[in-house]
Symmetry: C2
Subunit: 165 residues, 2 copies
DNA sequence: CAAGATTGATTCTTCAATCTTA
DNA sequence: TAAGATTGAAGAATCAATCTTG
């Protein structure tokens, strides 16, 4: 009688094949590629700072809470990110005229300039992320990620506030 | 003459549709679901701590560098993670007999017990991550993520060291 | 010098608590 | 009280520098 034990000591499924682990690795690689492109271009914007900066540009005078909702950041995270963007001279934080509790955000001319300069690098990073896949596969991966995220948005701690339909 | 401006002020493509942003959101949701399952089960293991603990169980007496390679963690990250697992009594860190520089890691009986207890929660979290997709879509998402990660592994700052084949 | 490990610094994430203002 | 914002704490990721040991 022959008994075969494959991964007998492994109660859970192979960790490396778990969705959670793949999510972590995927994000890890995406950040790494973004950093590499920024460094090559001579800038040090992080992915998070870039997303915030673009969103401020597209939504002039947004307050921080709204900005957080637009890109699914924690309110606490926003404070630090804006601190650093302000320190770099890319964003200005102003007390709202209509509500002194709120801080409205404006991109500076240097911020606009930086965004313009790094655009090719950002695009290159995004393409690099999908460079291991065919065009069709890349599109399908994007579609499945969007579908997954939309389905679970409300169960996330920091749900995305729909900005556009 | 009519000129149509769609996203005219948006130099880069919509940030929310960029692979890098989707990677961040996907990871954010995956971590959130894992935390929710752990909390419901009465444990406070993080996804990172869980991955390390499982890998230590499957590779008795691994040193920290090898462990880092197995799950694509930075050597520096490992130190803190093992600190916390040791503090919780789930792992023991021992100076290697053959190389006093190295620390070999062993899972404790309580660590084994915890892994056994949380197994259903871990599995539930993994299924929850894919709950917005059909079975076929979930499998396809996993396949595309694996393919992407394998293709870019070497361009990551912390490449995964193949543990098996 | 090279390798395993650790510490420090910076950024990001999340929660709890606090401060100011409505 | 509620809302916008901030600070503190803990975990994590990455790089630079350091310490110990080979």
């Amino acid at each position: 009688m022959i008994s075969i034990h494959v991964n007998a000591e492994c109660a859970v499924r192979d960790n490396l094949e778990m969705p959670g682990h793949l999510a972590r690795r995927f994000q890890q690689i995406a950040v790494s590629l973004f950093h590499a492109e920024m460094e090559a271009a001579g800038y040090d914007l992080t992915p998070v700072q870039f997303a915030a900066l673009v969103t401020i540009q597209q939504n002039p005078n947004v307050d921080q809470i709204t900005l957080a909702g637009l890109i699914a950041y924690d309110r606490t995270t926003i404070t630090g990110v804006i601190d650093r963007l302000t320190r770099k001279g890319l964003v200005v934080r102003t007390v709202s005229d209509t509500d002194r509790r709120a801080r409205t955000l404006q991109i500076t001319s240097e911020g606009v300039s930086v965004l313009r300069d790094i655009e090719p690098s950002v695009e290159a990073a995004q393409q690099a992320i999908l460079s291991g896949l065919s065009a069709a596969e890349g599109a399908e991966l994007m579609r499945l990620l969007v579908k997954t995220i939309e389905a679970l948005n409300e169960r996330s701690r920091v749900p995305l506030k729909s900005a556009r339909g």
